[in-house]
């Protein structure tokens, strides 16, 4: 009796300890995120004004100016990267989910996993070697290529999972109507998988938007309006980097402002990803 109640008591204590410990760690993790977000907001808020998002950078010593060219550059580079990564990623995912079996499929899957672990600076270096060196100048296009390579493993994995998640019965339903295999895939399977693919795409975009390392020797940066991806381009993340390591207070402030913009963009993308999945958690 006594031993039994002692056991019960010790179980209760360890149970409480477990709840406290996991709760503490969760609070620590969430708290850290809130502190970082809060710090960026506090530091960056004062830099954000209409001029900051609509004007070109001012020369050192002239206060004011903005990062509008960086915002536009990032948008262009990410858009081009999306154009490259989506078709390749979705079609590879389709192959892995439906057609690929055995060794070839395993190889593709394994390589995609390895690719997702390659440091972004190495991918930047690769883009530099094949798209910058031969043309003897930096370009937004080479940055877009590096971003596309970074997005690719994520696109492949989410597309494969999304397409695999469409029940075989749905695909067979299309076959049974006399649709050719590709007809069923185009008209039935891919539309059914689209919300998850879009989610994966938005998360992949969020992942690369803040990447800086591959930009250093691909887009290179620019002080001017540059919308031609064949030329060196500004990008927000790189402007933050340049401003942050500069010795000027005004630029430090603008670096925080840029960081805040990036975080807001990622936040919007994450909310968008959830929105694309709306109503899906209720089902199944």
């Amino acid at each position: 009796m006594i031993a039994g109640s002692r056991l019960a008591a010790s179980r209760r204590v360890s149970g409480i300890a477990g709840v406290v410990l996991t709760g503490f760690c969760s609070a620590l993790a969430a708290g850290l995120l809130i502190v970082i977000l809060g710090y960026v907001v506090v530091q960056g808020w004062s830099a954000i004004n209409p001029a900051f998002v609509t004007q070109l950078p001012h020369p050192v010593g002239v206060s004011g100016g903005g990062v509008a060219n960086g915002i536009v550059g990032t948008l262009i580079i990410v858009a081009l990267a999306t154009l490259m990564a989506v078709p390749v990623g979705v079609l590879t995912g389709l192959y892995l989910a439906i057609y690929g079996r055995g060794l070839p499929a395993e190889c593709v899957r394994f390589l995609a996993e390895v690719l997702s672990g390659v440091p972004s600076i190495a991918i930047g270096l690769f883009a530099y070697t094949i798209l910058v060196q031969p043309f003897r100048h930096f370009s937004g296009l080479s940055a877009a290529f590096a971003f596309a390579v970074l997005m690719l493993p994520l696109m492949i994995r989410t597309s494969e999972e999304a397409i695999r998640g469409v029940p075989t019965a749905i695909r067979e339903g299309a076959l049974a109507l006399g649709l050719p295999d590709y007809g069923g895939v185009i008209h039935v399977v891919l539309p059914a998988a689209r919300p998850l693919i879009v989610t994966g795409l938005l998360l992949a975009i969020a992942r690369v938007t803040g990447e800086t390392a591959p930009l250093l020797f691909t887009a290179f940066g620019s002080q001017f309006w540059e919308v031609n991806p064949g030329n060196p381009m500004a990008a927000l993340a790189m402007q933050i980097f340049t401003y942050a390591i500069s010795p000027y207070d005004d630029w430090h402030r603008q670096a925080w402002g840029g960081a805040l913009l990036l975080i807001l963009a990622v936040l919007v993308l994450n909310i968008g990803a959830r929105w694309a999945l709306r109503g899906r958690t209720k089902r199944s």
């Binding site: 029940p167 019965a169 295999d181």
Partner: protein, 275 residues
Amino acid sequence: MQTTVVAAENSVPVEDEADVALCARSISAWYGTKLAIRDVSLDFRRHSISALMGPSGCGKTTFLRCLNRIHESALGASTTGEVLLDGTNIYDPGVNPVVTRRRIGMVFQRPNPFPTMSIFENVVSGPRYTGLSRNPRELKDLAEEALRQAALFDEVKDKLDDPALSLSGGQQQRLCIARALAVQPEVLLMDEPTSALDPLSTLKIEELMEQLATNYTVVIVTHNLQQAARVSNFAAFMLGDADRVGSVIEYAPTQQIFTHPNDRRTEDYITGRFG
């Protein structure tokens, strides 16, 4: 001249060859190296309902899936034998399975409406994407006709643009029947079409099947004996052997198979001694 189409001792003798819409000859089917059904030969009479019954795993669904060549769409699955549709072997090398499937429609065990499409889009997906018709007026008429044949039109006529998934399970299954009918097939294969439905929806589908049999040749897989007895004109009893390889034990007019089965195993199954 009276010819008797007898492919195996289990075939129902059909007086006139023209009465046979679909004729399976020595169908064997594999999943990889695993033999699932061996040497199944059955004739299906035009504009009648034939039921395939038997315990789980006896291969009745596999056999049904060989009749429209959808079995082979699974990776590693293969088939040997012949299926004659109006005298033409659909397994001939020159025959395109995609085109064949437009003549032999299929309804699945669970309702499988296309999840991103509306009710209307589901019904016309066949004609629209097989190129049968892309004319909006024609599609509208086709949809109405198919929905009427599937006894669903009155329930959905005011909400054709609603998502297909907003319908109840029974309605979804009738939508799938309408979708299959919209490509104007000659044969309709139904794989346990009511096993996921409640009794009322089941009743509706069974009534529907009887109407459909006036225009279509219906082959239904069911493990529900009462259903086979209620709706079918002919019934085949299939059974798996010790290696779980299915074959036909007996095939006869439904009346006969339920009252005077020839084979002891059929009798045991029907009287509930196993299965």
